[in-house]
């Protein structure tokens, strides 16, 4: 259990659904520093803040636990990708998860059935408000993917009251790191782990979105849904993020 003086937060990223699909980062509103001259609210970077206890051992254990968590999620994503590739919406196919598979799968199948029905009434879809709403959702979704890929990012690490390190990574991937002058090597290692955690989190989120795009394409072909490769993206994204949540909660048996 993470104690009160520990937090992992991110601002400046507009996740689909407004929630981090990894369940690691608390999403905060992008706030303008009082030190800036230009108070433009334009988001040009994402800011990842890691607050750790000032006890070194506790801080190290927490970082290790978060790193393990994200490695596990990458493994779960491998499983979900493989199962999505095999999934055939025209068959009553049971995904071989050891989990409560009814809810996310039933929701996905229901979305597929609904969108399939729209495509058989093609001449009226232009006037269908659900279709229009979904199409707008998809455009927004694709826009967010581009933003997450292109935003600069900044990672700040604190132990107790002390800011230990700050790293800025621009769009090209150039790094700029500022250390507190008296920072000790163990504290500096903590910041490096923070940079690794934030960067890995971003890559995994991009991978989740990419999985949703590929999954939507695969299902659209199998179910023969015109436009399904776009319209199904939000539904497949929800399926992937719901499955990740479920897989994380499965107890590990010895």
């Amino acid at each position: 259990m993470i104690s009160r003086d520990v937090s992992f937060s991110v601002s400046g990223i507009d996740f689909p659904d407004g929630v981090d699909p990894l369940g690691l980062w608390q999403v905060e509103k992008y706030r303008i520093s009082s030190f800036t001259v230009d108070a433009s609210p334009l988001m040009t970077e994402s800011v990842w803040r890691i607050q750790l206890p000032d006890t070194l051992e506790e801080a190290q254990n927490i970082m290790q636990s978060q790193q393990y968590n994200i490695e596990q999620q990458q493994h779960y994503l491998d499983i979900i990708e493989s199962q999505l590739a095999d999934y055939n919406p025209k068959e009553n196919y049971n995904l071989s998860f050891v989990t409560d598979r009814d809810s996310p799968l039933a929701t996905l199948q229901s979305s597929i059935t609904e969108i399939s029905a729209w495509s058989t009434a093609y001449n009226t879809t232009g006037a269908n408000p659900d279709y229009i709403r979904l199409y707008e959702q998809c455009e927004t979704f694709l826009g967010r993917f581009k933003d997450i890929m292109s935003l600069q990012r900044r990672i700040e690490t604190r132990t107790g009251q002390n800011l230990v390190g700050l790293t800025h990574i621009d769009w090209k991937g150039d790094y700029k790191t500022i250390w507190e002058k008296q920072a000790t090597p163990p504290a500096m290692h903590l910041h490096i782990k923070s940079v690794n955690l934030a960067s890995t989190s971003r890559m995994v989120v991009l991978r989740i979105i990419s999985t949703a795009v590929s999954g939507a394409l695969s299902i659209a072909i199998k179910a023969a849904i015109p436009g399904g490769q776009i319209l199904l993206i939000p539904a497949v994204y929800h399926f992937v993020s719901d499955m990740l949540r479920e897989l994380k909660n499965i107890p590990v048996h010895a």
């Binding site: 706030r31 009082s34 581009k146 890929m149 991937g173 790191t177 490096i192 795009v213």
Partner: protein, 130 residues
Amino acid sequence: MAENDLRRAVNKFTSDLAAKAESFVNDITTLEVRTFTTPSHEFTALVGDGVDLEAPIDGSHMQLRAYTKINFDCDTTICLPVDANNQVDRSVWDMHQTMVEHALKSRQEMLRSMGDALASALRALQLASE
């Protein structure tokens, strides 16, 4: 009309991503990693959303301690940090090197992600055109 809107959405996504990829390819001919130190009382001025780390701060004691630049052809420029005795400051150098390795790995992953995203978008565009 709805089908054209979809095709337009995929087209836009693909062309925006392709433009970004082209800009990225042009920009990634070099990789630069900089390491600075600053006194703790000046550190708080550098945090907060929207602070421009490129803009000089009056009276700042922030010092550039190490710098690495790697060109596309692998020519490398390195500036090593030294302490008051003109000896290499190992703790700063070790951290700097770790960041260089991290930056190289991140760039590889970025290229792979971009490639995967473009491939998916092109497949989707192809399907939308059929």
